[in-house]
Symmetry: C2
Subunit: 320 residues, 2 copies
């Protein structure tokens, strides 16, 4: 069992991350603050060129490879943002990247991975089939397989949490979406190390509550997996991120669920009030803040807008 | 006649601008590059909290006020982005701001100015009536009236052009929308001082070509003013920005017009390909680049995405 990363590991990831990525802004929006009765700040992880916080992890992981590992390349399975992030990390560090996707994967995400230089191979009917295949391919090639919660990914994405504290040292509450959990763990490790009084709240979808149920119960519990929020759609709980999220001093303070309708209302609010495109997972913290309105009254609240890769079909439907 | 600002004046504006605003990213988008057959970079002036490049000018202008001027406050007329920028500059420097808007002004922009702390006064049936009234009010109060092309505004907004060159020293072409002309002048003064070979192309709307016609003719020419692109809708040419845009060594290389349909196609492309919200003026450089496809082939092209404050009604109509 690998030791969990620490605040110092996240600090150590910064130089590699900032070699290829810029800090993202934390903006206060008075229109949202008025609406919520709190001071609302948005952390714009949707401002990266690939529109998602995960790219910080991809860049850092690729930067840690030795010469032989780099030459062998990175292998991973993904249907979306994870694959784009590894592809981006590979491109900026000159590391070949192969991503397995299931048949029928979203063509625009496949196009994006390819335009970042990754080799994309269709294999199998679902994510797990693609993942098993890429693991065998990587073994044959003697190359690294990247999973969704590798420690380097947590360290890389944790750099955004340090930026939040730099920009708003007196933050009261940070609300972060949970998929595999790398983002939430990065926030916990940073915020709780600095001051355990900073409240960290995780969000998953009512229609995909596996991580949340497991967190509440303290043992692996499955749930349905029917959300439109690709970034929150976790089939199985991840042991290493659960360990951090349930840690007695570093873990989440709370873990809430939001409805599909609440996420889509939040997407609409982001578009109309601040002219920002959020994908479902990216809008989930705003949806949660609206649900938690009374509890957050008067507090300084940071919403992590984790990504903006919504499909054109969803965007059209939600705006109409 | 006030002397035109220089590159050094823009450099001098940086410390005040960066006290309150962050650098904006310049991202290359491979999906746009493939589509245009050029290397396409987007300068994200829509990433400011108030979603528009002009805020750099508002912040800088407010920072230059002496104690008495600050106490007297800033007065201006606006129906939109200009007013928000002055309001933001006033807020961060503790300067009271009064903005006159015509009856019937866009309620969401009025709400935004008010939420930034500005006093908004409705006066008159059109912009000119509001402007004349605010000039009298300012005179009575012994306060500064801010026009759309005051030299401090050009210096402030010019800081984004320096960022473009820092991030892409070998840029070939910069395409910038022209309303009153402060943004285009900032780009010209920076890019042409550094190297006259950097091509700078201005864009206005076919349905509001006053500045473009005046630039081509070398004498004031009016035109229709029927565009939906609020940021390009200039009723009369501005003498001080025309002087820079027509300057023999520092001026624009070309000045093109785009149709309403081309701007709305570009808004749709920004939304779907890179998940960014552009207002009509902000999308005009992408529309122009599509029109100029052959001429730009293989070049490194920067599109200034100058602002994202599109109305919800327009967004809904364009996405549908």
């Amino acid at each position: 069992m690998m030791p969990a990363p620490t605040y110092r590991d996240i600090l150590a990831a910064r130089p590699a991350v900032y070699r290829h990525l810029e800090r993202t802004p934390l903006h206060e929006y008075s229109l949202l603050s008025e609406q919520l009765g709190a001071r609302v700040f948005v952390k714009h992880e949707n401002h990266h060129a690939v529109r998602v916080f995960k790219v910080r992890g991809g860049v850092y992981l690729a930067s840690t490879l030795g010469e032989e590992e780099r030459a062998a390349g990175l292998y991973s399975a993904s249907t979306g943002n994870h694959g784009q992030s590894i592809a981006f990390g590979g491109r900026v560090t000159g590391t070949p990247v192969t991503i397995a996707v299931p048949e029928g994967a979203n063509p625009s995400k496949v196009a994006s991975m390819r335009s970042l230089g990754a080799e994309v191979v269709f294999h199998g009917l679902d994510f797990d089939a693609a993942r098993e295949w890429i693991e065998r391919e990587a073994e044959r090639a003697g190359a690294r397989v990247v999973g969704p919660t590798d420690p380097e990914l947590i360290c890389g994405v944790g750099t955004y949490a340090i930026e939040i504290l730099e920009d708003l040292p007196d933050v009261d509450t940070i609300i972060v979406p949970v998929g595999a959990g790398s983002g939430a763990c990065g926030v916990c490790l940073v915020a709780k190390t600095v001051d355990p009084k900073i409240e960290v709240i995780g969000v998953q979808a009512e229609r995909a509550p596996t991580q949340q149920r497991t967190w509440k119960a303290g043992r692996p519990l499955l749930g349905p997996m029917e959300t439109r929020a690709e970034g929150l759609a976790t089939r199985v709980p991840f042991e290493n991120t659960q360990r951090i999220m349930r840690h007695p001093t570093l873990g989440l303070d709370d873990f809430v669920l939001v409805s599909e309708e609440a996420m889509e209302n939040a997407i609409r609010l982001y578009l109309e009030a601040i002219h920002e495109v959020a994908e479902h997972a990216g809008a989930a913290p705003l949806a949660a803040a609206i649900d938690l309105r009374e509890r957050l009254a008067g507090r300084k609240v940071v919403l992590v807008l984790s990504g903006g890769n919504i499909s054109s079909a969803d965007l059209r439907r939600i705006v109409a």
